[in-house]
Symmetry: C2
């Protein structure tokens, strides 16, 4: 089952803030619905944000009363601006918006043709994501050995994508290839995507998983309990991988303990026109850190720093797995020159 | 006010699992009360465990009906065994038990004299701890510059000791010396000693503190937001510092970012007859990781690894601050040979 689906003017997904205790289906009928769900992290994960952004524009197009293509384009530009203002770091969101608008602009014909083009392009983004993940999984499985324990961070699974997952796509492919592997999942504070989502996905697939708190990453790596690290990415720039807060920490610890550190992400995550210093790291609300289920776990009014992402320089990355193959450090220089 | 106090046959402390939301006073009248409080981490922090263990024996002695010194010694040995079986990692607990029993054994006289000796030695351990922390603070302050931001992990404050604290003793002394410093506190999962206790102590003292989740340690260090790291220790052995889970991770990140990593601990934390491979790292219950305020935040039955401590090899340690001065890497070799 796909994490996000288009059903004739309604975009259907699961509210990820409620998992694993509750499976709440979310039905969105406007770009504002989608923007709100993204801001509240009911929808999260870089590739899924791309698909959701595309569908957000599809909702605008589907329900539009525009009488000309120009009017529709104007509405799409307004919707894109709303979606752009949700979360600043994952590039896939911007990429998908640009792609749908570009495609629609290029499509010749009347308003009905344009509406159809928007919806089709949104659908294409979602379908391509599933395909990309399957291929990423296939490439990535070649890096995983029978008997390996794989450490992953946050959730780069089917819930972070349209289906299958990036980092967990690699895990799934290795498992499907008959490799007897185990996963260690970091809980990923503050929002616990690891304990809530990654463990949930792996349990459903019957893949053995052990949960740790984030500060145990050093322990499991130094104790020799991890053979490979595989994580996703929110944006890959010319000098770094930008991903969920804590990724940099794990990358440094992996290198210190001679454990390969792999990043699995579709090409839609690449932003090779920028370096890390050009990327805004989203800072989120203090309540995410100091409250658990609405209950305060720190003194009231305490100052909190809550960056959602961090920057892992490419020197810590052993390989980037994407749908076109595997990039090794010798290939990384091409990232900054291929444009 | 001391964290733990002897009041004629009653040991009084605060239940640290309830802070900062509730200040629940705990009155213990037997060694079993103390053992239970330690196991449940109502009492925690290596130096405080030492003081509590001493007081546990004092309670046995005070309430004893032994008619001979030999009978009392037998009761003390039984009590010591109960206290020894609470938590295996912090050395201070074992050190205090050995010290009180040894002192009592050496004391000549009748049972009343022996009872008095137990109580006096327990009181002496507590008093010496406060003094040691004050001196540690004084030494440590010399390493802190005006304007520094100090990163600390877990709680090595007055709540982890009888009073003043080790790592926070250094912070307090620097602050008292007029240095305009700030603290970044990691929340310290799973039991949140950082967000619940360290922030609480610093707020009370008016020392600026910012809370982060554990996986943000790499972010703040790589962003240049930290000038010094200061942590406590549960046991210092010939080759490593053993401290709250996550310490090793921060030490590696500090070295990677050229930030000094200091350990502040009294000599009662030193165990120079052992190396790290001889020390048992306590594994605690899965519920600490998967439940928040009794509410499950991960799929039911998920496998969890929950080590309470990790091992930081001395190569990552810039200095150890103790009551006799500051040990630098050039002095560390003496740690393994001075016995």
């Amino acid at each position: 089952m796909r994490t996000i689906e288009w059903k004739e003017g309604v975009v259907v997904t699961v509210d990820q803030t409620k998992l694993p205790n509750e499976t709440t289906i979310l039905k969105m009928t406007s770009c504002n619905d989608v923007a709100k769900a993204i801001k509240m992290m009911k929808i999260r994960g870089a590739p899924l944000l791309g698909a959701a952004a595309g569908y957000g524009l599809a909702l605008t197009a589907y329900h539009s009363k525009a009488e000309t293509k120009d009017q529709l384009m104007e509405e799409l530009v307004v919707s894109a601006r709303i979606l752009r203002n949700t979360r600043p770091t994952a590039i896939n969101l911007f990429w998908a918006l640009d792609r749908v608008i570009e495609k629609t602009r290029e499509t010749e014909g009347n308003v009905a043709t344009a509406v159809k083009a928007v919806i089709e392009e949104a659908e294409r983004i979602a379908t391509e994501d599933v395909l990309a993940n399957k291929i990423i999984g296939k490439h990535g499985s070649s890096l995983i050995d029978d008997g390996d324990t794989v450490l992953t961070h946050c959730n780069a699974g089917s819930l972070a994508t349209v289906d299958y997952g990036t980092a967990l796509g690699v895990v799934r492919a290795a498992w499907k290839d008959g490799k007897n592997i185990k996963v260690i999942a970091t809980e990923t504070r503050p929002l616990l995507q690891g304990s809530r989502l990654t463990t949930y996905e792996l349990l459903q697939d019957g893949i053995p998983v052990t949960l740790i708190t984030d500060n145990m990453a050093g322990y499991v790596l130094s104790e020799g309990l991890v053979d490979k690290v595989v994580v996703g990415a929110d944006r890959i720039v010319t000098d770094a991988v930008i991903n969920k807060i804590g990724t940099y920490t794990i990358a440094v610890l992996a290198r210190e303990n001679d454990v390969p550190f792999y990043v699995a992400a579709p090409e839609s995550t690449f932003d090779l026109e920028r370096s890390s210093e050009d990327v805004l790291i989203e800072k989120r609300d203090a309540d995410e850190v100091v409250k658990f289920g609405g209950v305060l776990v720190a003194p009231a009014g305490i100052e909190v720093l809550n960056p959602a992402f961090d920057v892992t320089p490419l020197k810590y990355v052993s390989a980037i797995i994407y749908e076109k193959g595997i990039l090794y450090p010798k290939d990384f220089q091409r990232l900054s020159t291929q444009n």
